[in-house]
Symmetry: C2
Subunit: 305 residues, 2 copies
């Protein structure tokens, strides 16, 4: 089959629907509510939101494909380095899926996934993406499972990718002002195109496999943890960790920033925020507590395999 922006978008649309089915099956209660929207300047998207489930408290699986004349804001030097717009009179096409799932139980981790494709009429095109896991309580077995699964997908395509993209995730999902990683990382990559070792088509296959790996990995993590008992104090800790998630997304996340600065659809962009979050002045977990243990592992450079 020919590979072009339209077939890529079609593939993403199918992926969105597969992922939503898998999450609904795992949740066993709530269903996604779907909202289609159009962008005045070209394109649009489909925002699928689930809430108040057995497992999922709030989550979104968002598809979009937007295009048109490259807007002025992409012409500044700063934006060039973000999207690679070398000329100012081209057209762009951007399509992708973004997912954030906030589970009800503090024993089930928050997950985020994004796969995106970008091209310009001057021939520039690239792939980006990432998956990262934010456990409220770090379970080293689950962390190892998560990273091992991602490594398997990477290794199938390029033996350098896992370590390279794992380091990139450590650097990207970092809450600088707290000196904390957002969670246990995962992989992050951007501007994948082609080079001496990988053709664009090979990178596209890698990228598709990452997208397809999301549902089985997260459903397994749900099954492992959804029945676990938790206390009111553990729920409170979850709210504090969600507060950190809000800090990361509103202060550092490039997609959020880019979306808000460019008049994106606010409700779709901010679906990544939890249904509730908490802040407590100078909260310090007790020494040797589970919370203390988790905090001690929110560092870059840990080998989770």
């Amino acid at each position: 089959m020919e590979v072009n922006k339209f077939t890529i978008s079609e593939w993403l649309k199918k992926l969105q629907s597969q992922i939503c089915n898998a999450l609904e099956n795992a949740d066993e209660l709530s269903k996604f509510i779907s909202e289609e929207w159009e962008r005045d300047e070209g394109g649009g998207g489909k925002t699928n939101i689930i809430s108040n489930g057995n497992v999922i408290e709030k989550g979104g699986v968002l598809y979009s494909a937007v295009y048109g004349k490259t807007p002025d804001f992409l012409k500044t030097e700063k934006q060039h380095t973000i999207i690679g717009a070398e000329t100012s009179d081209t057209e762009f096409y951007a399509t992708g899926i973004s997912i954030v799932i906030h589970p009800k139980s503090p024993m089930v981790p928050i997950i985020h996934m994004n796969v995106r494709y970008f091209e310009m009429s001057n021939g520039t095109k690239w792939l980006g993406g990432g998956i990262d896991l934010t456990p409220h309580y770090i379970n080293t077995k689950d962390a190892s499972f998560f990273h091992t699964e991602l490594k398997k997908v990477c290794d199938k395509h390029n033996l350098n990718y896992y370590q390279k993209f794992k380091n990139w995730a450590d650097d990207y999902f970092f809450i600088k002002h707290r000196s904390e990683t957002r969670g246990i990382g995962g992989i992050f990559f951007d501007r994948l195109t082609s080079d001496e070792t990988m053709t664009f088509s090979q990178n596209l296959n890698f990228w598709k496999d990452i997208g397809s790996a999301f549902a089985p990995i997260y459903v397994e993590l749900i099954q492992r943890n959804k029945q676990k008992h938790y206390t009111e104090a553990q729920k409170q800790w979850q709210l504090l960790r969600r507060g950190r998630y809000v800090e990361f997304n509103l202060i550092y996340d490039k997609g959020t920033k880019f979306g808000l600065e460019t008049n994106g659809r606010v409700e779709s962009i901010l679906m990544s925020l939890p249904s509730n979050a908490s802040w407590q002045y100078n909260f310090q977990p007790k020494a040797a507590s589970e919370e203390f243990h988790t905090l001690s592992l929110l560092k870059k450079g840990i080998n989770w395999l």
Copy 2:
């Protein structure tokens, strides 16, 4: 008495203690917990935090006076325009008070106040400040009282100040991506020094009067509203409005940004965040509801007097 950075800091310290006393009296239950901190490069502060009160759920009254060699980050062009550092080899001194109070009841408004003084060894010096009110439910009588009191303070010193600084607050306390003001505004000003109409000393008196007006104004608003009954649904609306407060502070607030980017004391900077906040996908209040009414008034340019 001679006016210099030390006497200004001394005045601010006394103001902090007066405001905390007034708030404790109004709360009738909780007391401030005080933490002094030092800055490695020079100076420090006193962070007073109150929580779980009768009236106040979470609030901070923060004093700081920091000084030293002008750090590198103040030497970039962008920062020049923020702090007015025209030369790179000077020393700076910055002192101020910042307050954010999140009340328990959705019937009592959130309030914020900041007064700050900045000088450099090259002779540059200026005053800045602001007070703004964020009611969860806008009560036009209270809004009128709030703005009238601020106008009285302004008018005592300069008949142009209220309108000028009210417009500035409308522009500053604006959540761009929502096209909503944070609340009903108030006044905001920056870089007050001296000009053909006002000496520095006259502006200093104005600035002090703003600082001194905070406690009587907010205590009055507490007394008017603290006994009002509220429902669970109104509490839920309060959490959504707090979510907007978080969005403003983490995305737009210059003080927060500046503090986090310059390795400020994180727990002091983020004391402005509420103890909890909520986000709901695409929440729309019912037509003609109290919530709808409040949203319709979160606009720039309203005359509240």
